[in-house]
Symmetry: C2
Subunit: 412 residues, 2 copies
Amino acid sequence: MPVHQATCTAPVNIAVVKYWGKRNTSLILPTNDSLSVTLDQDHLRTVTSARADAAFGTLEQGPLQDRLWLNGHEEVVKPGGRLDACLTELRRLRAVLERDDPSLPPLSRWALRLCSENNFPTAAGLASSASGFAALAVTVAELYGLSETLSRSELSKIARRGSGSACRSLFGGFVAWDMGRLDSGDDSLAIPVAEREHWHDLHVLICVVNDGKKGTSSTSGMQRTVETSPLLQHRIQHVVPERMRRMRAAIQQRDFGAFTDLTTADSNNFHACCLDTAPPIFYMNDTSRAIVQVIEELNRARKEAGEEPMAAYTFDAGPNAVLYVREQHMPTVLRVVRHYFPGASFDDPFQLGPSEGLPSLPPSFREDVVPVHDAGCVRRLIHTRVGDGPRVLERGCGPASLLNEEGLPLRS
Amino acid sequence: MPVHQATCTAPVNIAVVKYWGKRNTSLILPTNDSLSVTLDQDHLRTVTSARADAAFGTLEQGPLQDRLWLNGHEEVVKPGGRLDACLTELRRLRAVLERDDPSLPPLSRWALRLCSENNFPTAAGLASSASGFAALAVTVAELYGLSETLSRSELSKIARRGSGSACRSLFGGFVAWDMGRLDSGDDSLAIPVAEREHWHDLHVLICVVNDGKKGTSSTSGMQRTVETSPLLQHRIQHVVPERMRRMRAAIQQRDFGAFTDLTTADSNNFHACCLDTAPPIFYMNDTSRAIVQVIEELNRARKEAGEEPMAAYTFDAGPNAVLYVREQHMPTVLRVVRHYFPGASFDDPFQLGPSEGLPSLPPSFREDVVPVHDAGCVRRLIHTRVGDGPRVLERGCGPASLLNEEGLPLRS
């Protein structure tokens, strides 16, 4: 008996024009376009194995009971929930194939076992729902034999039902999520803007910021902003459309100056709308703001010396900074960050080597822009770069599988 | 020889619809209307003595050299500066009187000595420019005998030339600054909205927040926002006009619920525009945000219990919180603030008495909304209430004078 299984990986993406607000919360249709950079799966990824087996239960026996393990813990698959919405759509597409070719095994009628692992700890403070739902959609599509007929953009609509920003993890490089206009959501999908190779020297430094505070979930936060912020409406109607145009151009031209101006302005604009919410939503903390001040001062001093900026910062729904930096400037940025925010754990895959103290900086750089912070304010640094799209690791149950022969997690 | 001198006081005001941005930086004409509450001069005030004397120099001897002492330190009076702009206009009006009545002493042709003191320390973190320029305008107008012909609204235009928000300190109670439309600024002035007696039980708690950071001055900050923030334009054109209408109504009706919603929303909207500036401007810090979270939770729990909110917070261009609270609720708010932010110095003129721990609160109040902070995060508490307008303390050189017989500061 063949094992009906696939194992795939999907990347993390970090938006440079932010998604904040849904026009349809059930279908997860956004109020504006967004654009992100896909990070390298060599460093940050979700791996997912999916298996269908009649032994797990069949439709003939009653409602299917799919099972899912996330990082070794079993999660409840809620009927009508987001995961269920993704699986239902994938099953529907598989059922069409089976109807057209009765020789196919009836996988759509069998329960699924799904096992998913992130190679980055939850403690890294990175949202894993984007890579998670992207990996889920790609893996089940692969298992169901849908990948040849279903484009990645089509598949992004299914990942979107799990988590909006997941749709952008269906491609590598630079990816736009077109908000679409249809009530059905059929035109709300991811479209590649540029391949990773187009701007291969774009590196990324994630600064994981220590934060005791319970955050506001992005799902509930964004709808509160939609309901209460007068500024968000202006962002949606006027700010983002113009920024999307200019961001596409900046990426096409590899114009790091424009890319930096747009990325930082959009991060700040998004957090401004959070602050304009009633009650206000705070994601950035004093350490986040100190990172902003150091990077702004670095860029200002560079500009004064007639040079392009050195780093673009962006913050998602949390205090962590993500810095986009050209490869050649990363040693400098790393030393600056480690000088002001000492004590972060750091294991650099690019082996830039340890360096103490401030590097040589543009002459007008004001060293007292912020004080040197207490050790551990920035808890961890992760160095990565722009990456490729989801990868199929294997079909069947081989060495990459996260499930054992019985369809249970290998690790727990 | 009579001494030509006057001594007056002027109050601090705290805006509930904020002023941020000038359409004319020289005349200090704002981009939107604003509205403030005047605080009680029994607790917070600037006192100013102004004397004119031929012995200080006369126009016949050359350009006049006015002298000014602020809190015991002599300041340079820059020709063409803001102080000079105020004095020039007051002299012009005095000269008209002297032309019409040649029996008047030619005070407009004599140099001035000005001495100004705040009864609150600079360390209290309160902007003193509003009360300072209001006291200056009122005192020199009194000295020049202008107060009978010049209305307080007319005088507010002169104070405005010193510091925009100073115009609102010309009245007690609730005061609007009408932005005006004329290029000359002749219709950009303060207008009383309601007397202090209209809403006499409106009390104020100022939470002075510890902050190591150098702030961005409001003068330079607001113009950077005008130049770079897309959201500010929306605030100016759409958000503020509607809020001014609703705020006037809330005050007329003494509707504390509406007053709270509008005050907090406008504070957050203003700080959102600061954050939307390039580079972003941060005034609130982690302690400021924790105060917001405590007050929002208190108001939420009250609302759930079917009661009106307990406190409205607002933040100016710094980390300090100003809370508006009905007198009857101040003991509760004080205990809550002192519970989460212990160790603040506090000398309550209303003698509400020391109280330890949390008072009885609405049942749904989540005590873990923020942790109890380290002692001193809030450095000082000041309890005051809505107050009256500028007061004339004396004409001539009596016991209230800040100047000695030689026209030098009594205290330094």
